[in-house]
């Protein structure tokens, strides 16, 4: 029996699973926190009364515009204890954001903000106004209306937002590399590990990492979409 050399080299590679675990931990925490943050922002963008919404809307998109490592650079400057912001956080919370997992989470949240906010905003915008009104006439508060009526009825949009954010955080490495400092077990996520292996010209290891990352995320997305398609089947009257 002959084995293709690519597969052979994959099998031979000893993978360090810590970066992979760290990646999915970071992606999960980021996506969940961001969902909590993005929902009120999106809601306010759609239903708020404030005039300057366009400005805020555009600002939210800004993290997309700069190369990740440059955002990482600016965040590094801001998070650093020699900057007032970093100093403040360190004084108040005893937390140093540079080269720490918490810092990665905050950076990922900032960086992925548009991925979460924009699709949810679009979803809320296309709900019929009467749903909200019906809930109000039933005496429900704005909060109950959002939680029980609006959010469940823009599931496809929220799902899209969540998937984009999750996958994007899995693949992100520019920001992470810059403010994380590539510290094993703390900030060395899979994407950075792959990057390192490629830089080290150690392709089999890079391939192996990429494959695992790919496979796990593929399975997650596949599950998500299969469930989604089952739940949200296009209405077909009997």
């Amino acid at each position: 029996m002959t084995i293709h050399p690519f597969i052979h080299s994959l099998i031979q590679t000893k993978l360090d699973f810590q970066p992979l675990l760290l990646t999915f931990k970071l992606a999960s925490i980021t996506s969940i926190l961001l969902l909590v943050i993005a929902l009120p922002i999106a809601y306010w963008l759609v239903f708020g009364k404030f005039k300057g919404r366009g400005v805020v809307e555009a600002l939210i998109g800004m993290p997309l515009v700069l190369p990740p490592s440059v955002i990482g650079f600016y965040l590094l400057l801001a998070f650093s204890p020699s900057h007032w912001f970093g100093a403040l956080i360190e004084d108040w919370l005893g937390l140093r954001l540079v080269f720490s997992f918490q810092g990665l989470v905050i950076a990922s949240i900032l960086y992925s903000l548009p991925f979460m906010v924009y699709p949810i905003r679009a979803g809320l915008q296309s709900l019929p106004a009467s749903l909200r009104e019906a809930s109000y006439t039933l005496g429900k508060s704005e909060w109950q209306t959002v939680v029980k009526v609006l959010i469940p009825n823009c599931k496809p949009a929220i799902l899209t937002a969540f998937v984009l954010t999750f996958a994007h955080t899995v693949g992100e490495f520019g920001v992470v590399l810059m403010i994380g400092g590539n510290i094993p077990g703390v900030t060395k996520v899979a994407s950075v590990a792959i990057y390192n292996e490629v830089e080290a010209l150690n392709y089999p290891a890079a391939n192996a990492y990429a494959l695992v990352l790919f496979a796990i995320t593929f399975i997650i997305l596949l599950l998500v979409y299969s469930i989604n398609n089952r739940l949200l089947r296009v209405r077909q009257p009997a």
């Binding site: 590094l76 650093s80 020699s82 810059m178 400092g181 590539n182 510290i183 080290a200």
Partner: protein, 233 residues
């Protein structure tokens, strides 16, 4: 040993192959553990300035360590631990045909060089081309790799017909036997000096002593021999 007691060595990407061997040797000799963090010299410099928890910085040139020294990141001036050598490398052109002149011919459509702005080998490559009066004829063919590793990828994947790189890369176990190379005459470019710097530690730091030990080891004859095997002078 606990992670917090490990010496963290910030290593420029193009020295990482040698560093692995240096690490093994040092760990064997001293019994102390080393953690190697790899990134580009520019990134590492920025991170060190913002307080990254690194103990020693092994750079790919002299500019970045000096920058750190100037900014007060260390009490000791950086020192050169090795001098690199430039090679001309190709995937398909046989060694017998490989020489700088071929770059000006139609046989070579693209030439990969590391970005001369950030990578010392790129700077050296441009110096060499200028010295050979080939720069004007080849300028349009140049493509710039972000790092020495990326430039190596351009060459070994056959995306370019030829390119400049570091001897240490060509000799690394991962790249051995991939294509053909010749050494570029070292009189055509300024020596590619690579320096390291011992980063500041507080007097009470548990890592102060071991970091100093590692820094010293970098300049030991044992390390020199390893560097030599990888094509450094």
């Amino acid at each position: 040993s606990k992670p917090s007691e490990k010496i963290v060595v910030a290593t420029a990407a193009n020295v990482q192959y040698v560093m692995k061997e240096i690490q093994q040797e040092f760990e064997k000799e001293s019994g102390k553990k080393i953690e190697i963090v790899v990134a580009s010299s520019g990134k590492l410099t920025t991170q060190i300035r913002e307080g990254a928890p690194f103990d020693v910085f092994v750079s790919a040139d002299t500019k970045y360590p000096e920058e750190i020294f100037k900014n007060g990141g260390s009490d000791l001036k950086p020192e050169v631990y090795a001098t690199g050598a430039l090679v001309l490398w190709s995937k398909d052109i046989p060694e017998t045909d490989l020489n700088p002149q071929i770059l000006a011919t139609g046989q070579v459509k693209k030439i990969a060089v590391p970005n001369p702005k950030t990578a010392p080998y790129g700077e050296a490559a441009v110096q060499a081309l200028n010295a050979l009066k080939l720069y004007e004829q080849t300028e349009k063919k140049l493509v710039y790799g972000e790092s020495i590793a990326q430039t190596a990828q351009y060459i070994t994947t056959g995306s370019v017909e030829a390119g400049f790189n570091a001897l240490s890369i060509v000799l690394s176990p991962e790249m051995k036997g991939k294509g053909h190379y010749i050494l570029v005459d070292s009189s055509l470019y300024k020596p590619i000096q690579q320096a390291a710097i011992l980063l500041k530690h507080s007097e009470t730091s548990p890592k102060k002593e071991s970091s100093e030990a590692f820094y010293k080891f970098l300049y030991s004859p044992k390390a020199k021999a390893i560097f030599k095997r990888y094509g450094y002078k």
